[in-house]
Symmetry: C2
DNA sequence: ATATATATCTTAGTCACTAAGAGATTTAGC
DNA sequence: GCTAAATCTCTTAGTGACTAAGATATATAT
């Protein structure tokens, strides 16, 4: 066996490792939601708001894959909790922008401290050059996942009888 | 500015990139669930079963953070769909092992084809040596997230009045 | 102007979840 | 061995976030 593993085996190992850490990441998010006493979707929306800034209710529905009706509920809860504010767009008064209340960032980010500490520790074991490689991978990986998500969504447009499905549910969950 | 970015800025950029791609990964999973017509938790349990193999109902509850009652429902649905089988442990007849039915792997993994293709494409841009670095990071990152999750769970044991909470919900979601 | 499109919200009903406890089996103490 | 406590899964009742469908309000096009 060579110093570097055979590429095929390496790719497979990498895929499983990514899958495993990704699953654990999901679990971390769920734990945050539980500890904070906030619904999972509500936290997901806060994360989107943190990353994208001030976005419309419709955009939240689009990104999360929830219906607009569900988003109304999400925003209601977040607004009641004082984490976000609804702001009507004066240019187009149908639109409602959702904006994060400044203090909310601190309220939420405290739950990510353990994660940040763990990641700092991990990153500490890498040189600047290696971190650049990781950054490149994170960015390219992100684009790859976006593309994969779009490709998968494409299946929803194919007629149901021609599309693979497990049919645990009778009704589809998205409009 | 040097050829490599200042480390602090690099770390911050890396954190945001990871967060972004992680969020997109969550969305991919949700899309899989929607396209497959399967509940999110059901898919998460299938993923755990795929990674860990034959596990007990209690272990599923532990790993997902769901109650055992919820897991009963998950397993009921997965069993009805013909994806898993319940197998009583002969050594300890209280325990119920959940085992994936062989054909289920193929049924599920078809929904991950877009993701696999996207990842293959991304990985194609890296040398064996670089992939080894990514593998090392994925493994260390996984351990880091596990540790962070445990640390965060520790907050649940601290008295509620001493613990930071957002209190969007009146009742806690975990026992 | 009128019709059509777009953006959010409302309502009714559904489904997965929690909490609490029951049932079945195992382990510990005497 | 026998009883009590512990462990594991399932059951039941009730709750809350979700979807689907349509209402409301505003914007755009003909």
């Amino acid at each position: 066996m060579s110093r570097t593993k055979a590429r095929a085996a390496l790719l497979q190992e990498l895929e499983e490792a990514m899958r495993r850490s990704s699953a654990q990441g999901v679990l971390y998010g769920q734990t945050v939601a539980n500890v904070a006493g906030i619904a999972n979707s509500d936290l997901e929306c806060m994360d989107i708001l943190y990353l994208e800034g001030r976005v419309t209710a419709g955009r939240l529905a689009e990104v999360t894959g929830l219906t607009t009706g569900a988003i109304t509920g999400v925003v209601d809860r977040l607004e009641t909790a004082g984490l976000v504010r609804r702001e009507r767009d004066d240019a187009d008064r149908r639109k409602v922008f959702i904006a994060v209340v400044p203090e909310a960032i601190a309220k939420i980010s405290q739950f990510y401290v353990p994660m940040q500490q763990a990641m700092e520790k991990v990153f500490g074991g890498y040189s600047d050059q290696e971190l650049h490689l990781l950054l490149r991978f994170a960015n390219e990986g992100y684009k790859g996942v976006v593309a994969a998500t779009e490709a998968l969504k494409g299946l929803l447009d194919t007629p149901p009888e021609k599309r693979p499905a497990l049919k645990l549910k009778t009704r589809p969950r998205r409009p």
